[in-house]
Structures are given as C-alpha cells and as structure tokens.
Assembly symmetry: C2
Homo-oligomer: 159 residues x 2
Amino acid sequence: MHRPTSNAHEKLLRRLAEFRFQLRRFLLYSERAAAHAGVQPQQHQLLLQIAGKPSDALATIAYAAERLGLQHHSVVELVDRSVRERLIERGEDPADARRVILTVTKKGRRVLDELSTDHATELSEMGPRLAQALHGIGTTKQKTRRTTARKRTERPKQQ
Amino acid sequence: MHRPTSNAHEKLLRRLAEFRFQLRRFLLYSERAAAHAGVQPQQHQLLLQIAGKPSDALATIAYAAERLGLQHHSVVELVDRSVRERLIERGEDPADARRVILTVTKKGRRVLDELSTDHATELSEMGPRLAQALHGIGTTKQKTRRTTARKRTERPKQQ
DNA sequence: CGCGAATATATCGTGTTACGATATATCCAC
DNA sequence: GTGGATATATCGTAACACGATATATTCGCG
C-alpha cells in the first residue's frame, strides 16, 4: 500500500510543518523577549503560571509542575534559581506544612508585566497566522485512514 | 504607575497562562508521541520540515536551521544523530558542492507518517481549545502597548 | 495516639542538547 | 587565481530536565 505521493498526505505534511514553524517562531520570540527582560524562558513561564493561576488554585510546587508540564523536582530547581534571583518567594501553607506557596516578588512582577504586554502585542500579530496554520490541519486529514481518528476523550499516553 | 490589581491585567495574565498551558500540553503530547515512535522530538521536527517543505525549497542544513529556529551547527549535530539512526540521508547538491541536501529515508518516512496522523488527530481535538485560548489574548491587551512592539524581524539579542 | 502509607518537597548525579568559538570547504566576483 | 562570502563541520562548555533517592509532614486506621 504505497502512497505514490498522496496529495492529501503531502498537504497534511506541509500544513503541519508550517504550523510548527509558526509555533517555533512564537516560542523563539518568547525566548528572546525573556532574555531581553533578564530572565530565562522557564522563569518567565513560572512567573506567568503563578501570577496567572485561577483564584481558587494554590501556587504550590506541584501546581507549577502540572502547569509547566515538568516533574516536581525540575520545578524545585527552577524555583531555587528564581528565588535566588528574587523573582519569586517561597512561603508556607498554614494549612499544610509540607507545601510551599509561591509568590511573585515586585521584581518578578515587573518582569512579568513587561513580558505580558510584549506577548499580547506579539500574539495579536502572530496569533491569526498561528490560528490559520492550525485551522487547516484537522480538516486536511480526511482520508489518511480513520483508525486513529476519533479516540477523542482520552489518550492512553502513559507518563 | 502602579496598577492596583488591574482587572484587565489580571485577565490578560490568566489568558496568557492558559494559552501557554495548552501549548505546553500539546508540546508534551508531541514529545511523547515522538518518544513512542522511537525518535526524539527534534528528530521528528527535522523529518517534518524536510518532508513538509514547499516544493520550491531545498532541504539544506541552513533551511532546516531556519525552519527549526536553530543555529546551523545545532542542526549539523541533529542531522548527524538522525543519519546515524537512518532517519534521513545526506545528499549532494549537484549545483553547489558546499550544500548538503537532506532526504528522508523509508524508515524516517514511516515514523513521520505515523506521527503526522497522530498529530492531526490530536490537533483536531486540541486545536480549537488552543485557538480559543489564543483568541482572547489580542483583544484583552488593553492599552500599554507600543514600546517593545514589533522588532520581531531581527533582534540584536546575542544572549 | 501511634505507626505505616501517602503526599509534598528537596538533593544528587547524569545525559542530552544547543550554544559560542572556530575550522574547513566551496563558490563567486573581479 | 585571490579574497571575501557562503555552507557545513568540529570541539569544548553550560544549562536544564530527568531518574533515583532522601526527608518532612499529613492522613488513615486500628
């Protein structure tokens, strides 16, 4: 069952490639913006997830790990570095002494605010392009076999 | 110029945080899918950009670097690893002996095809969520714009 | 209330990977 | 053909996330 350069498939590849390219461009912009603001990309993300958490969530290490898609201990190290640079602070949770509550310092806030407006601006430019690159994809996968097609609800991706 | 917990600003933070979270989820999915297919995320991206290039482009190292947002020499190393694992091959450019033309092997193609359909499926699920998280942002960004606005094209960021 | 299991955070050593600096090869203009 | 530009390659280094493991605190249950 060779596909002699299936057009639909080629098209999907091009769209995926374009999407990832645009995505990478955004991430590169973001990395550079962070560097420009004097922090590392991951520190920026940490600040963002702490400051941007919903009001009903606790900014613990575990929360940050979940939001950043990292292991707890990777976050511990990220927090170590960030505390050292006075971007955030460790606080205690009165309700559970095992936990650490993370708060953003004034300095961290300043950095984050700068980055946030930058990103908002950049995204209002690049967002549409990204959204469009994204748009073509779901609709392009038409024939390419329908097996993997609809396991929509969950994904048995372990670890 | 203090913002006493500006509501609009808080909202922007939450939206940005949510967007990055969704983005990270996608990237995490992608990383795992690549691992599951037996390649590293960057190898997947390399395959994708080579196979998904527009027909008028040459799949050189420099092209890949541009598309992956990496330095040439990082790509050289990525290519080294990928060639070693028979995912791609180095070829010569008859027109310019300095160049290396990259081609995807059968094995690489198999891997990429698997990953592509997976990603198309995943994106048709998660794409809308991503697009929506994206959508709220440009419109939430109130005033503060202008400075640092658009020096996207190049940036003297030596980092 | 006391002990083991579960949860939350921390430490240590390691491997991967992208980078800067630099080197080599080829092309192009004159 | 020589010099500068372009394209790829090599080497040493540092950042960062990870696995394995350790410590601290809370919870469940008798």
